[in-house]
């Protein structure tokens, strides 16, 4: 049977996942901007810091009993080694390039007249203006009507065209 299969349930399912993601993200981020959420995050932060301190103290005691260096001691040792490496690197000359350096003579290619510019429509650097008001139902002056209606016989300065 050869029928056109336009309603693909799996494609619809995939689209539903995308839409659901967008919708739930928008809902969640909206809720997260409430003051209650800020209070909750701050409290969780304090709890986490307190737990980290307690666990750190407990582990330090365990490591001391087992005669094992703690994370802090290892980090301090790594930092000391890094300082020595940095000082050695500062004393050594900078590494030479692996290959001869090319000449600095390159010029930007001249754009041909027929070339389509690569840059998309760019936003000019002028300050942003306030959004334009919607056009009124009836124009205020004939000149404005003329500027909007290309078939009007009246030019932009109000004079009648021949």
């Amino acid at each position: 049977m050869s029928t056109s299969f336009k309603l693909d349930p799996l494609a619809l399912l995939r689209d539903a996942v995308n839409r659901l993601e967008t919708a739930v993200n928008a809902y969640a981020t909206g809720k997260m901007q409430s003051e209650q959420f800020s209070v909750l995050v701050a409290r969780l932060m304090k709890l986490r810091l307190a737990l980290k301190l307690l666990v750190g103290k407990a582990l330090a005691g365990v490591y001391a009993r087992l005669d094992i260096p703690s994370r802090t001691e290892l980090a301090a040792l790594a930092a000391a080694v890094q300082r020595i490496e940095d000082k050695v690197n500062a004393l050594l000359p900078p590494p030479l390039p692996l290959a001869p350096r090319p000449a600095r003579t390159r010029r930007a290619p001249e754009p041909a007249a027929a070339d389509v510019p690569v840059l998309p429509a760019k936003v000019p650097a002028a300050p942003r203006r306030a959004p334009a008001r919607k056009a009124a139902a009836t124009p205020a002056t004939p000149a404005k009507a003329a500027s909007r209606n290309p078939r009007s016989r009246r030019a932009a300065n109000g004079e009648l065209r021949p």
């Binding site: 050869s2 993200n25 701050a42 810091l49 890094q82 930007a108």
Partner: protein
């Protein structure tokens, strides 16, 4: 499958997934469609096992040499691939929350590889996790020490005085602050990607760090270094359901090698988030988020006011239309506020990460950047 930091992966991979899932079978018979789905189901199962057992792809593989390293800072120079290069070298400043591998995901998806092929001399400021010794680093350290130091080293290595600064996200903020405080310096051009200026427009970050409830001093004093997972959770909160949705899409597209490869690269980069120096984080929250100092003109760095109108070099600001981290309204004021005569804002479709990396960046942002930068790099 990593669920950490998958917001960025969800961002770009979702768009690739939507493209990959385009229903090209508008007129396909029902039998063909079912056969295709069964075939994909079998491939999903087989490739799913392969996915679980294989390592993540390597990223950041373009040949480079380490020019300088000092604690959290690493300055790299990428080997030129063109027979001649532009006179003015580029110094890319990566955001302090991530590694610079987003600029160099894979051959064919590498902004750095593209710039090298177009004849630019590319240097990158990358970051390593700061140690407890570096918890007192501040914005001054980055803008008045690291960036000028790297510019000086680039000048020395390249043998030229002028340098183009290119900053991405928070890297753009640091580059902008540096340019504002060093008017008349060696920076010849300034390029920013999705750089936040009006931090009041980052409404969810504002809510998460509500000044009335968030005790940043207590947190920084207790931790010293702000953990990477804290930063990652703050970013993930912008789109809380996306990590789950991206896993669903990943499973649905497991048969598609191209999709899976792109997902894994992006996921690997997104999961390698960096911790932040405590005082730098404290300053960012207080002076940028709470006081909106960069936009209001009240930010003081090194005792000097950061006035954006002091920037007079050519400026290009590329903004992402669907950026959920740095909305267009947050990025827009940069072009309006600088004093440059030659300045341009370029708004392109895409998200915060897909603007810079991914299939759409290859055809949109990269050529536009080359077109703007080429004639200003001679």
């Amino acid at each position: 499958m990593s669920t950490t930091g998958t917001v960025a992966a969800a961002d770009t991979a979702a768009k690739a997934g939507k493209a990959g899932n385009a229903n090209t079978a508008a007129d396909t018979t029902l039998a063909q469609r079912l056969r295709q789905e069964v075939d994909q189901l079998v491939q999903r199962s087989l490739k799913g096992l392969d996915y679980l057992g294989s390592p993540a792809p390597a990223i950041g593989t373009t040949p480079r040499r380490l020019l300088h390293r000092r604690g959290t800072l690493a300055l790299y120079h990428y080997n030129a691939t063109a027979s001649e290069v532009y006179r003015v070298p580029l110094l890319l400043v990566m955001a302090t929350t991530n590694k610079c591998d987003i600029f160099d995901l894979a051959p064919g998806q590498s902004l750095i590889g593209y710039l090298l092929a177009q004849g630019y001399d590319v240097y990158v400021m990358d970051w390593n996790p700061p140690t407890q010794d570096e918890r007192t680093l501040t914005i001054e350290s980055y803008t008045l020490d690291f960036i000028p130091d790297c510019i000086r080293r680039v000048q020395q290595d390249a043998g030229v005085d002028a340098v183009t600064l290119v900053g991405y996200c928070m890297g753009g903020v640091l580059a902008t602050i540096h340019a504002a405080l060093h008017a008349g310096g060696p920076v010849k051009n300034l390029v920013c990607f999705t750089t936040p200026i009006d931090w009041k427009q980052m409404t969810l970050f504002q809510a998460l760090s509500d000044q009335r409830h968030f005790d940043v001093d207590r947190m920084v004093d207790a931790l010293g270094i702000v953990p990477a997972d804290f930063i990652a959770n703050a970013f993930s909160a912008q789109r809380p359901v996306s990590p789950v949705a991206s896993q669903v899409r990943l499973w649905d597209n497991m048969w598609n090698d191209q999709y899976v490869k792109g997902y894994r690269m992006m996921d690997r980069w997104a999961s390698e988030m960096l911790p932040l120096a405590g005082d730098y984080f404290r300053q960012t929250v207080k002076h940028l988020l709470w006081q909106n100092g960069l936009h209001e003109g009240t930010l003081r760095i090194g005792g000097r006011v950061v006035a954006l109108q002091n920037i007079t070099v050519p400026l290009l600001h590329v903004v992402a239309k669907h950026d959920h981290l740095v909305p267009p309204a947050c990025a827009a004021p940069l072009v309006a506020k600088v004093g440059s005569a030659d300045k341009e804002e370029l708004m392109l479709p895409g998200g915060h990460v897909s603007l810079v990396a991914g299939p759409n960046a290859v055809k949109r942002m990269w050529p536009a950047l080359d077109q703007w930068l080429g004639k200003r790099s001679t």
